[in-house]
Assembly symmetry: C2
Homo-oligomer: 233 residues x 2
């Protein structure tokens, strides 16, 4: 990967750092290190000491926890302009979760010391960080809510609905889209195992709400699918 990315431009598009002057961006960019990861490579593992802030410049990464039994629970998937590990940078603790690259990914890395210093110089950045961390907290609360209150069937219906709305194309048969990953990946995301994904998809199909063919999905009844979320779990 010899391709170059303009780091200052990436930084400017980062939610955390928007509204900074070009000069400020440049000074920050000067302190970043470019890191490249190929698909599947680990940025860091849960429990390691945190040494800095990671900004995704290109590609996508998956933030997740692993259990003793080899199960996974995905906390978030982050793309360009998003940051990873904003929080341990500040509280000094270890990384709470592991992160791997989903695709070939380019990271702008700022050391903990440099970023902290930058925040002191630019108090409004600290407030931005707070907003970002706040959003992440909401995400996590949402995951807790799902894990605690909903069935896998409902979680599956929910993700299918989101996919249909964001990536689906309307056709004569219904709303069509393609699953973004294998059943296994979907299972990790929902905090379960492959078989249950398979079975629940089949069940939704049997009920006439969907048509599934490998990764191709056609939602035939959006209303019905939405109703699954309401049915008491």
């Amino acid at each position: 990967m010899t391709e170059r990315t303009d780091l200052a431009a990436v930084l400017g598009k980062t939610g955390l750092l928007s509204n900074l002057s070009p000069a400020e961006l440049q000074s920050l960019a000067a302190r970043t290190v470019r890191k490249l990861f190929s698909a599947g490579e680990w940025l860091f593992a849960e429990g390691e000491p945190c040494n800095g802030l990671h900004i995704v410049a290109r590609g996508r990464v998956r933030i997740f926890k692993t259990s003793m039994n080899g199960r996974e629970q995905v906390l978030a998937v982050e793309g360009p302009g998003r940051t990873v590990a904003e929080l341990p940078v500040f509280d000094g603790g270890p990384y709470p979760a592991s992160v791997v690259a989903l695709e070939d990914t380019e990271i702008a890395f700022i050391s903990q010391r440099d970023f902290r210093a930058f925040c002191i110089e630019h108090p409004e950045v600290a407030l931005k960080v707070l907003a970002v961390v706040g959003a992440r907290l909401r995400q996590l609360v949402g995951i807790i809510e799902e894990l605690s209150f909903t069935t896998i069937r409902q979680r599956l219906a929910s993700t299918l609905l989101k996919l249909a709305q964001s990536q689906g194309t309307k056709t004569a048969r219904g709303v069509e889209f393609r699953l973004p990953g294998s059943h296994q990946e979907l299972a990790n995301q929902l905090g379960t195992v492959r078989e249950l994904i398979s079975r629940n998809l089949m069940r939704l199909q049997a009920e006439g709400l969907l048509e599934v063919d490998a990764r191709e999905v056609v939602v035939k009844d959006m209303q019905g699918l939405a109703a699954v979320l309401e049915a008491q779990g």
Copy 2:
């Protein structure tokens, strides 16, 4: 409740605000409002717009989510010197969870506007806030991990162990302590229902690890109880 509490003193003991000068504490205290809640009263409900920072001066509060079916999931219990809703103060969104007083509770309240202004004037406070929010984020990730990877039996064993270590007294029979609430409350905390608490307690007792009598618990085998956490769930 006519009893008065020195707000500036409380603020000084708050993790968020330690290391401030007495003058600064005074100026902040001048902007706080004292609020009193009796046991069971709601500070606010999930979804309401956030209007300020709550600092627990006396008593305890419970932060939790509610499901459609009336189930609850406790996110945290906070006591004196701890803050509630540090985050929505900054990201401007609604409260992500509800909070009620567990006991008669006194709250020092600072309006969103005042606290934000204070943070701009005192950038190091913003960093403190980040540290606190960071700790909260770790808490939440911990909850997700538990919900996703462990059985109720394991979660119960884990809380019993923590209680034994923090509040237990060693006697001839083992480590004795008293459950801090009803089975129902414990169930909410673990994200389950009363009956399962009852059954799992009985099961642990049948296995010789515990002796239970209503809320009095004697751990007879700390090692064995700890081993429950390791056994694959």
